[in-house]
Amino acid sequence: MSRSPLPYNPKILELFRNPKNLGRMDDATVSAVAGNPSCGDMITFYLKIDDESEAIVKASFESYGCAANIATSSILTEMVKGKKLYDAWQTSWKTVAKEVGRTAYGKIPLRYPGCGSVEEGDKTIL
């Protein structure tokens, strides 16, 4: 097909308007920034981790990016919440893309920075 797919679906729009787990977390165990301002895509993730169980009890984000970036960040924080660190680490951009529904061509370029950010956070702890 030669026609470009449309960049957005209603799920992305809804999460862009009402993102979950938005904002800085002052009591975060770890935070990590991924992406690059030059690509217009940058995310900070904050994770609060329970010492004993190594489970993520809270996750939040800040974003500089397009609506898809904001929506997928919101989804990713929901996905990793409650997970053990090692399991959260396994979250791939493909899983996130699947969760958000059909996303646009190029909207999650190669590797979603949010996953990198969670991975970085996990690695720091592990």
Partner: protein, 406 residues
């Protein structure tokens, strides 16, 4: 997928006001232009202008009268110099390729500015693959071409130079007369092309005073219908056709002319020019009200392009730091304010606007840019509404940006 789009559209229900400012990318056609076009679809002049029957002769008469009108507004000597074609992209392709085909073997250098529209840049990139050398005139921080550079680089090996009269993204009014003089004094055979799509009807520009060889004109940029434009080719200039097919009333672009669209283009020109001074004064006032209103009320903002008389009267292009442009277009759309952005996210190439990076904007400044154009139809109430919507939109997105881990 279509279902999804319907929901996106539905999300806009109940907006307080709608202000369309994305005139760079498309335009609503004014009622008076539509009214003028309508009879030409099925009441009169619906024939083929080259054929020997009444509707055909009516079409011929209509096309010639429209060409005559546009020739007069643009400062052409003769209506024969106006070649109708589907739009700016086609006109720019014809200008570049048509010249290159004609001038085969006479040199291989093409000079364009680094902020030309993609219909110039991409066709030149294609020519580079077949052995042409393309040199790009650098621009300064406001988008003005470097005339000294041009003087140095234009040589006997150059076949053509192409510089837009007004930049479509940042509104810079180029010193075309000076550029033309530099090129022609070096070698008069070098073809000089200028895209006047953003100059026509917005600045005092007359081809009889600035005798370029080729000029591109777009209809929708002056509120005419989409799908029509023209390439001005000065009487004594020869270029080749780039498409083949049945020839209508004009030799450079095959196919049967689209009479209703030509009528719309001509009517839109008439409306833009009949109260020219009044129209551009109105636009300039609203432009400055928008620019000043935004720069004075929002911190971390940058005006892209020059200000005052050196800027096109309709163009507003501002970068909002810590605010990504595509998100901003969506946030504003949900408030009924329709704009576009130079952000990478709005482009298939995932690179920010080449115009903004050429004037020295850092990537994150280019990503946060918003482009708006005002017309004679906009009101103070429209601008007041936009000036209320933008700070709220920027504020929400900057909250999402937060401290960015800092």
């Amino acid at each position: 997928m279509v279902e999804g789009v319907r929901e996106l559209i539905k999300a806009h229900e109940g907006v307080e006001r709608e202000v369309y400012l994305d005139f760079e990318n498309s335009a609503p056609v004014p009622e008076e232009v539509v009214r003028e076009m309508l009879p030409y679809f099925n009441v009169k002049a619906y024939g083929n202008p080259t054929l020997t029957n009444k509707p055909g002769w009516e079409a011929y008469e209509t096309i010639i009268s429209s060409a005559k009108k546009i020739a007069r507004y643009v400062g052409a000597k003769s209506l024969e110099e106006i070649n109708f074609l589907p739009g700016e992209t086609e006109a720019n392709n014809l200008a570049i390729l048509g010249t290159v085909y004609k001038r085969k073997g006479q040199g291989n250098k093409i000079i364009i500015s680094e902020i030309e529209p993609l219909s110039i840049i991409h066709v030149c990139k294609m020519l580079e693959k077949s052995g042409f050398r393309v040199e790009k005139i650098p621009v300064d921080g406001e988008g003005f071409i470097n005339l000294e550079w041009l003087k140095e680089k234009v040589d006997n090996n150059s076949i053509m130079v192409s510089v837009s009269s007004v930049n479509n993204e940042i509104g810079t009014i180029q010193p075309i007369r000076e550029a033309l003089d530099i090129v022609k004094s070096k070698k008069s055979e070098i073809i000089f092309h200028t895209d006047i799509s953003d100059a026509y009807g917005r600045i005092d520009f007359d081809l009889s005073r600035i005798p370029v060889d080729l000029a591109t004109i777009s209809s929708y940029k002056i509120l005419g219908p989409r799908g029509i434009g023209a390439l001005y080719v000065r009487e004594d200039v020869k270029i080749e056709r780039i498409l083949e097919g049945q020839i209508g009333t004009q030799k450079l672009w095959p196919g049967i002319e689209n009479t209703p669209l030509i009528v719309g283009f001509s009517k839109a020109s008439e409306l833009a020019f009949e109260n020219f001074e009044q129209n551009i004064n109105h636009m300039r006032r609203l432009r400055d009200k928008l620019i000043d209103g935004i720069l004075n009320s929002i911190s971390g903002t940058l005006l892209n392009g020059p200000s005052g008389g050196k800027r096109s009267p309709d163009n507003v292009n501002i970068s909002f730091l810590k605010c990504e442009g595509e998100s901003l277009t969506i946030e504003l759309s949900l408030k009924g304010v329709y704009v576009s952005s130079g952000s990478a996210c709005t482009r298939r190439a995932l690179q920010p606007s080449h115009v903004l990076t050429a004037i020295g904007r850092r990537f994150e400044e280019a990503h946060g840019s918003i482009l708006m154009k005002v017309t004679r139809y906009h009101t103070d109430e429209d601008v007041d509404y936009v000036l209320k919507a933008i700070p709220a939109a920027v504020d929400r997105l900057r909250k999402i940006y937060g401290s960015m881990g800092g």
